[in-house]
């Protein structure tokens, strides 16, 4: 469980966080999305008791991150953005060291199990310095999972992994998220879509939006978009579809398909299909396309743009 209230953090005169408030419950994977410098890492560092907030309160696993930091640190697993590893250590020794710092009983077995979870058991006796970036990333993750923490905080967990590993690690995070609280940051939006129960979009130290990935999409998409493809030439089809009641903004895509929108309240797809067939075209494909999180994200962080231009000019 993570509860954050009115969290602010100043670096000198620069304010990195402006009164952040959010919650993450047990059994929930919360995604932290935002452009670089939005305050994701700062927030995570505060939640892991690495540094104190300037003001506000953060409760992690039932303890205050400032006044009960040792209790928080016992219950949190943390994968920092730059995976901190002792490159001159053997993988197993490194994890054993971390396990000992956490006073884990039968540390050897635990290290073995955790290495298996991240798929690196065969590298247990290799030097960390000789591992690839993706493997190091997984060692960092193993370190965060060693003590089976109540709260898992992961700063860009899948960065540097190859596609196969990304799938595995996402699956692993999902599994862990079933029982525990996971807060992860990413700027890969499809990742947030796949593994997060809830998404917080943060920009310039403020939470811009907080919702489930699905709600975010439907909330931001005023109209449903549909792509339509017919066999052969689609000339002359557009005006016919435009005539169907409820259809808006028909346009032809360069690849020959047509695209149109309709309001969610009145589903026009049946009518459109009928129209296409009756007009003698072969309907091959008709599919709805949601606005991707990428587009939502750009939409939400767009309003800041004029600011930047002003600053650049002055």
């Amino acid at each position: 469980m993570i509860r954050v209230e009115e969290l602010t953090k100043d670096y000198g005169s620069r304010r990195a966080l402006h009164g952040l408030t959010f919650e993450a419950r047990q059994g929930e994977v919360v995604g932290f999305l935002g452009p670089n410098g939005a305050g994701k890492t700062t927030t995570m560092r505060i939640l892991t008791s690495y540094m104190p907030p300037t003001s506000g309160e953060a409760i992690v696993a039932g303890y205050n991150v400032v006044s009960e930091s040792l209790e928080v640190r016992k219950r949190v697993g943390y994968l920092p953005e730059t995976v901190p590893l002792y490159t001159d250590m053997v993988v197993f020794d490194y994890l054993k060291f971390m396990a000992d710092l956490r006073h884990l009983p039968n540390a050897d077995e635990r290290v073995g199990e955790t290495l298996e979870m991240v798929g690196l058991l065969d590298r247990a006796n290799g030097y960390i310095g000789a591992l690839s970036k993706g493997m190091r990333q997984r060692i960092g993750l193993a370190q965060a999972l060693l003590h089976r923490p109540e709260v898992l905080i992961l700063d860009e967990p899948t960065i540097g992994l190859d596609p196969g590993q990304v799938v595995e690690i996402r699956h692993l995070i999902r599994e862990i998220g079933k029982e525990r609280t996971v807060l992860l940051s990413t700027h890969i939006l499809s990742e947030a879509q796949q593994i997060c129960d809830r998404v917080l979009i943060i920009n310039k130290g403020r939470i811009v939006v907080e919702d489930t990935p699905e709600n975010l999409q439907s909330r931001l998409v005023g109209a449903e978009r549909v792509i339509l493809r017919v066999g052969g030439d689609s000339d002359g089809l557009a005006p016919r579809i435009e005539k169907v009641k409820g259809v808006q903004q028909v346009k032809s895509n360069p690849d020959g398909s047509l695209e149109f929108q309709f309001l969610p309240a009145q589903d026009v797809r049946q009518q459109v299909a009928k129209t296409v067939i009756e007009a003698g075209y072969d309907l091959i494909e008709m599919r709805a396309v949601g606005l991707s999180l990428e587009e939502i994200f750009l939409e939400l962080t767009k309003e800041e743009e004029p600011d930047k231009k002003k600053k650049a000019r002055s």
Partner: protein, 246 residues
């Protein structure tokens, strides 16, 4: 306590994969070996050190001098490297107190230097067999106590300084300057000032070191060394702690 030991053990192990530690140990043992050979040679010829029965004081004195030069190399890495590599983030988000971290690092260095000190015990053992009726056991004991205390104090200063930096070279030179000041420079004003000479003599580490090696154990000397150790470790803990607040 357990965390201190975990950290100390890792540091101790690390010394054995680090070339710097081998260079330090090799240099100390080589120089002491040469000095020891000279002691024996002069004893046999009764010429070099003005004759008389040989004792271990040249070894002990040189060892202290060598530690001024070598302990900065042993401590420079300890915390500065954690700062540089970002592993400090790992340690500070693990359930470890700042003081445990700093004391653990210090203890790791201490165990290494104790290993080197233990190796030098061959010299008094050899000497004891050469000299009739054997060397003074009391002086030997206090001399080694002095060496251990000097090492502990130097390492503690080094750890304290290392915590302030994220650059090893900077940590090395600042520690060296601090140790040179403690070991020599503090004593200089004593010969020139009108009043307060006593103060400078007391602040000088050599005074206390040679009090011990001469065979006497005074409370003031012990207090001096323990204060230095405490100040160094406290500085280190504070430096790590303030890192959070930046």
């Amino acid at each position: 306590m357990r965390n201190i030991w975990t950290i100390a053990k890792r540091e101790y192990d690390h010394y054995f994969i680090s070339p710097i530690a081998y260079v330090v140990a090799f240099t100390i043992l080589l120089v002491l070996g040469i000095i020891f050979a000279l002691v024996i040679w002069s004893y046999s010829g009764q010429t070099f050190f003005g004759g008389g029965a040989p004792d271990i004081s040249p070894i002990v004195g040189s060892f202290a001098f060598l530690m001024v030069l070598s302990t900065p190399a042993l401590t420079m890495r300890l915390l500065a490297d954690e700062n540089r590599m970002g592993t400090m983030e790992l340690l500070l988000t693990a359930p470890v107190r700042e003081s445990e971290l700093v004391i653990g690092k210090w203890l790791g260095g201490m165990l290494f230097i104790l290993t080197v000190i233990a190796i030098t015990l061959v010299y008094p053992i050899i000497l004891n067999n050469l000299v009739e009726p054997g060397i003074d056991q009391g002086t030997l004991l206090t001399s080694y106590l002095a060496l251990i205390l000097v090492a502990a104090a130097f390492l503690s200063v080094g750890v304290g300084v290392s915590a302030l930096f994220s650059n090893q070279v900077a940590a090395f030179f600042v520690t060296m300057i601090a140790l040179v000041t403690l070991y020599w420079l503090m004593g200089f004003p004593a010969d020139y000032v009108q009043s307060g000479a006593e103060f400078f003599r007391h602040m000088n580490l050599q005074t206390h070191f040679y009090n011990l090696t001469s065979g006497q154990i005074n409370l003031t000397d012990l207090v001096y060394f323990f204060s230095l150790i405490a100040i160094g470790l406290f500085t280190g803990s504070m430096a790590v702690e303030t890192r959070r607040w930046r």
